[in-house]
């Protein structure tokens, strides 16, 4: 009986670290240093949104000092004459996508894409959606 218990304890001691090993690598820890890569101007909106949504990360301006990097893209489709005349809609359609990768390991730990039709606040809306979901991921919601 004791032998069996000992074997189980030994097996779990060897197995558990292996299971737990992958989990932290796939998460963004709170207060991690994050670098925002150039995204054609969208990085400024994203920076503002991260601050507005109080995402628990520390934004750095130098990539070498960062633990994580956010890359992404953003598209804006302004309302054309037809949309304004026919649909009476002046708002733009926005879509954006971001990817957060661990600089050291190279693993992509988070990615999110958003599409907002007739976005009320343009790029600001998509940036805030990205920031909100990034916050949720960090806080484990």
């Amino acid at each position: 009986m004791l032998r069996k218990i000992l074997m189980i304890v030994l097996a779990s001691a060897f197995c558990l670290p292996g299971v737990a090993k992958d989990e932290p690598a796939k998460k963004i820890p709170a207060h991690a240093k994050v670098f925002l890569a150039p995204m054609g101007g969208f990085e400024n909106d994203l920076k503002t949104a991260i601050e507005a949504k109080k995402v628990p990360v520390e934004l750095v301006t130098e990539r070498d000092k960062a633990d994580f990097e956010i890359t992404g893209t953003s598209d804006t489709e302004k309302a054309g004459a037809a949309k304004k005349a026919i649909l009476l809609d002046w708002h733009s359609n926005e879509q954006a996508s971001i990817t957060v990768s661990n600089i050291k390991s190279g693993d992509v730990v988070f990615a999110y894409s958003v599409n907002k039709r007739s976005s009320a606040h343009g790029k600001r809306s998509t940036a805030e959606a990205c920031a909100k979901h990034l916050k949720d991921q960090i806080e484990g919601k």
Binding site: T73, E77, G80, I86, D89, Q95, S97, T99, A111, S113
Partner: protein
Amino acid sequence: MSRKLCIFAIAILGFGSLCAFSQTNGAAAGNGSAPTQDPAPASAAPANNATPNQPAPAASAPANNKISTPLNATKIPSGSKIYVAQMGGFENYVTAGILKKKVPVSIVADRDKAEYEIHGTAETEKAGWAKMLFLGSQNTNEQASIQVQEIKTGNVVFAYSVNKLNSARGKQSAGEAIGKHLNEAIGKD
């Protein structure tokens, strides 16, 4: 004259059949020099004779290997490291789609650390005034195509193309469709 021709033809046929018989016997003896000829007799005589069927599996084994080797190679194993190459911004949507659909792979940002690479193209067609006027729709038409390539061998192991008319979420929809179908392709026997 015709009788002579007939005899000549029978003689040729008899000689040909003798040659064929000797070849099949040689292959059954264990040389396996002509494995492509073996499945034919095996399929022609299903289970009546024990002796002709005996060599058939052994001789058809190399033929099966020939077929199964590429099939095994084309499987993307679960937990593989995949690099998503630049696709003019669409790579971010593909990455997001893969993560959203919980595809059992690990995406890496560094190509050197990856085993597979995804590359492809995407196109967006915006709604024109006619579409807005007649259909009352401002949704875009999206089309995208990707290929998953094994970096070491260069083999294309998966390919998928998607075309979404009146895409509700634009590129996001196309990216998620790719993620969904990649998920179905991984880990299947």
